[in-house]
Amino acid sequence: MTSLQVWRTFEPDSYYKTFLEHSKRPDGRGLSNFRPINIKVGTVTTAEGSATVRLGHTTVMCGIKAEIATPTLRHPDEGFIVPNVELYPCCSPMFKAGPPGEKAIGLSQFLKNVITSAEVLLPSDLCIAPNKFAWCLYCDVVCLNYDGNLYDASLIALMAALQNVLLPEVSYDEESEKATVSPERTLPLKLKRRPVSSTFTMYSDSIQLVDPTAEDEEQGSGEVTVVLLEDGSLCTIHKPGGHSIVSDFLDKFINLARKRVKLVNSAICKALAERKV
């Protein structure tokens, strides 16, 4: 063990603070630098749509399975989108086997909120025959390696996977009340919006870090997630407790996030284009 590793193990707080004093982070990034994004779509053949996203060492995989279900009585012409996040013990010692923990449930709910509030996909587009059949999209996000900033990684993976979905064409015969699936004819989903999230960790009143690693999250006190749409308008701000922030900083975050929206969406487009070639 080198002396640097000893310092990191025994005095993690002072080790970390020294980096921040020089406006750097232990992985060499500045405080407002994002990690490189790596996206691959169509990675799982058993899913209707899938994507793998890497943000630095954080690796998440999203697979979308489509099933035909019956619409609810309240909304007879709407399909379902069910995001679900699975954090297996494989990805970090933080997570234990068994029923989903707080973090996984919170993340699933966050994804659900973003999808519905941003109107990514109209539930009525998923309807096959009112009162009879509708598509149910199960969007399962699996974390393969956890190194912070799951919010951004899962939303990017979800959006990339949604754009990769090909649903078989279904024709409904009203007389026999039967639906026929024709797997040879497939259609992509009609996505209306492309939200992108950016996460910041609050360390102190004056120090905030973008795109936190697991170490940043551990040292900091709470995260803020800002979700913007592709035209730069604000969709969601998610701040589950933590250190308080001044509104000026929030403005700064939103400006940083605005630049990231274009970057992320073009990265997804590039990955989709690579897949088609």
């Binding site: 053949t45 099933e67 699975e86 297996y88 013990p89 086997a97 699996v142 393969l144």
Partner: protein
Amino acid sequence: MSGQVLCAVKMAPFSAPVRLPPQPDTRQQEMSRQLKDALESVIVLEKFPKSQIDVYVTVIEDDGSLLGACITAAGLALCHANIDVYDLVVGASVLFRGDVLYLDPRREEEEVSDNNQLTIGMIPKHAGGQIALMVQRSGQVAPQCLSECLNAAVDLCNRLHSLAQKTLLVHLQETLAHSSSSSSSP
């Protein structure tokens, strides 16, 4: 008290043609149990007194020979984690239908009825080759047939073992090259 092994095989909901519910089903529990049995006989448990080794396997996509792949992955991960094992454990699966032998079957081949599947986990370089796990499932099989299957599976394991060994060696060389270059630069 020697060490204990905890194994959990988790299949991602999108890994099968029909979506799997997030709760573990009997198949996952069965595989976890079989993997545990295999690893317990491979790890030098006397070297880990009063401790537990957790092995978690995540299945991203199932395209047949799943248990064999899980064993090979777990074996490689144990070696990567520097845990003492008697030998690198590898798993392989063969399928027998009629007179045809399918090495390393795909999912479609497995799903066809009236076939026999034999999955073994073995440590080919320990004491002249030892089998750590042998599972025969779905259907009946004649003893002569089974020995033929076994020979084919052992042969497959031997080939897999040399490949796995090579992979570890390449990884080690890369890590060494990386650490020597990073320690010399600053």
